[in-house]
């Protein structure tokens, strides 16, 4: 029982890590009033770019950086359409979700041809590996058997919390998502902040995707983001639009996913589909309980037109 729980905790951390990046991406976007449901698509591009750059350069860190850059580039489509053209955010987010994974699949075919060989890239080394530690102790595995990207994710959660709560710049950023016209009257560059949010969102979503192919799995497979972009949307609402809340939500979703895998193994009476439902049923239940009281940015999803009264 002890090893079941400790391994469950380790698996939860592994499965939550990419979600943290994607959820923070959505948090930064929504805090500036942009509901970006295209995280799934941006992560798909980040995943492929990270994989290809890591494979070519042999350096997973470069892959992560390239994933971030690719995420920014793709998200600029969303930014231009929704900020400059004031287009509907949900529609363009959906368009990104359709366009970006298809672009990733196309790029993969162009680069690797229609060959059927399995291509595998090197993964980022964990701290435990870097330090040459051989111990299999639970605490060693929990705190040291993680790639630098996992530590970066948790540091990012803390930095985000401080930024939004303790800095003037962070408060200005939040003001754009709450009441952009009022923010503009006190001299905040609303359009600039919204574009900045898209850069941050694209970078983090790209990193979240690249994490999958540089820190988690050695291979790239179309569809490997596997709905994590949508779980990230739920995590932001579950987390009440705060970075701490988002972290708890991601750990919860990671735990549910890890749990369903282990429950399949120890139960032979219920159909496996029942266990696969757990993360999604948990999402619905949690959103039903949490979502009743709105706590999100007031101008979320609304276009900002300078001239409009």
């Amino acid at each position: 029982m002890g090893s079941f729980i400790t391994n469950l905790i380790l698996a939860s951390i592994r499965m939550a890590s990419p979600l943290i990046f994607l959820s923070l991406a959505e948090l930064y976007s929504q805090r500036a009033g942009l509901v970006n449901i295209g995280i799934e698509g941006i992560a798909a591009i980040g995943s492929l770019t990270g994989f290809m750059v890591s494979l070519i350069s042999g350096n997973p860190l470069l892959g992560v950086l390239a994933g971030a850059l690719a995420g920014i580039l793709v998200n600029m489509i969303f930014a231009y359409a929704t900020i400059t053209l004031c287009a509907e955010q949900i529609v363009y987010g959906m368009a990104i979700n359709i366009f970006a994974p298809a672009l990733a699949a196309f790029a993969y075919r162009v680069y690797f041809g229609s060959g059927s060989e399995l291509v595998q890239a090197n993964l980022m080394v964990t701290l435990k590996g870097l330090l040459g530690i051989k111990s299999d102790n639970f605490l060693v595995n929990l705190f040291l058997d993680q790639t630098p990207m996992v530590y970066f994710a948790y540091i990012l959660v803390i930095v985000t919390a401080i930024y939004f709560r303790r800095t003037k710049s962070g408060l200005n950023y939040k003001a754009v998502g709450e009441y952009p016209k009022a923010a503009a009257t006190i001299g905040i560059n609303v359009i600039g902040v919204k574009y900045l949010s898209c850069v941050i969102c694209g970078a983090l979503a790209g990193i979240g995707g690249a994490y999958l192919t540089t820190c988690y799995s050695k291979t790239y497979v179309d569809g490997n983001v596997a709905g994590r972009g949508f779980i990230a949307l739920a995590a932001v609402i579950f987390g009440r639009w705060s970075s701490g809340g988002v972290l708890i939500a991601c750990l919860f979703f990671g735990f549910c996913d890890a749990l369903q895998i282990r429950l399949q193994l120890i139960n032979n009476t219920l159909p496996y589909q029942f266990f696969q439902m757990i993360p999604y049923v948990a999402t619905i239940v949690v959103l039903a309980l949490i979502g009743a009281k709105k706590a999100g940015p007031k101008a979320s999803g609304q276009p900002y037109r300078k001239e409009e009264r």
């Binding site: 090893s3 079941f4 391994n7 698996a11 592994r14 499965m15 359409a81 400059t84 053209l85 287009a87 699949a105 993969y108 690797f112 229609s114 060959g115 059927s116 060989e117 399995l118 291509v119 595998q120 299999d136 999958l212 988690y216 799995s217 050695k218 291979t219 497979v221 179309d222 569809g223 490997n224 596997a226 996913d257 890890a258 895998i261 282990r262 399949q264 193994l265 139960n267 032979n268 159909p271 496996y272 589909q273 696969q276």
Partner: protein
Amino acid sequence: MKKKIVAMIAAGAMIASMVPAMTAHADGHTVAMICDSSISDGGWGMACYNAMIDAAEKCGWETMYSDSIAQSAYYDTIVSYCDLGVDMIYAPGNQYTDAVLQAAEEYPDIAFALLNGGADTPEKAANGNVSSLLPNAQQIGWIAGALAGLMTESGTIAFIGGMELDTTLAKYAGYGEAAAFVAEENGKSVTLLDPVYSGDFSASDKGLEFAKAMMDQGADVFFGDASAVDSGARQAIDEANEAAGEIKIYDIAQPADLLGQNDCVIGSQVTDNSVLIELSMKAVEDGSFGGETLYGTLQNGVLSAGELNKDIVPEDVQAAYADYIQQMVDGTFMGGVETEAE
């Protein structure tokens, strides 16, 4: 105005992207494959695609394919190829049965070759234009199970599935019964863990997590039927072996010979589907296609055991395994149990 320009550019790009597909039909025969996993998954998708290419080269056919398609797009993708006028649709998986039967009813002049379709599926086709290509799933399980029974040291073996398909269940059952039989003959006992399913064939991360969870339960030989999910499992096994400093946990690959792809692969169960596809192509050419089930077995050479990893599998085990495979071919394995295709 800006919006109109953006919309026009987008529409132009969409039309431009469709042109190659609309003009891809060749003058000769054409086969189109649909697949929900990637053709570069290092497993099922790869083997099925290569089988189509091999058969097409022999018969002089053109090929087309769509991979990594969602379940909701099975039918639409098949119909798109039918509208392009292909001669044969090749659907490698039991999960395409409903989509194939529906499309076959609407396109009576097109041949539909359903790999791993049910033995009774051709009878269900209203126009008699569906054939099942059916590698013997029980024998597939036997080929892997015999090796697992010989190689397991912990006495616990594992199986990872993509979806709970009839063929997957048959492979699981064959794997378990062969492992138990062989282990018992060699003075061991084997426990086969309950099958687990990832729910799709692309989630390599799920394969990784399943393998870690099963290794925690003591599994030391793995077999799977889950395409890219199996690749994830092999990654987890390699990582565990690396941490242990020796290769003590093994994987048996399928359906191609994947020896060398990962350190943990000790052997493969090989299915040469190209033989069955080639038979289907020839049937299309001479107008006799449809309404039958083409079985693939050890006896007709469609199924075989791949090369063993000689660095890991001891010589006496290699010899014993070869003997068991010969028994399967001769029909004397496990006292001459009849398999589903006999």
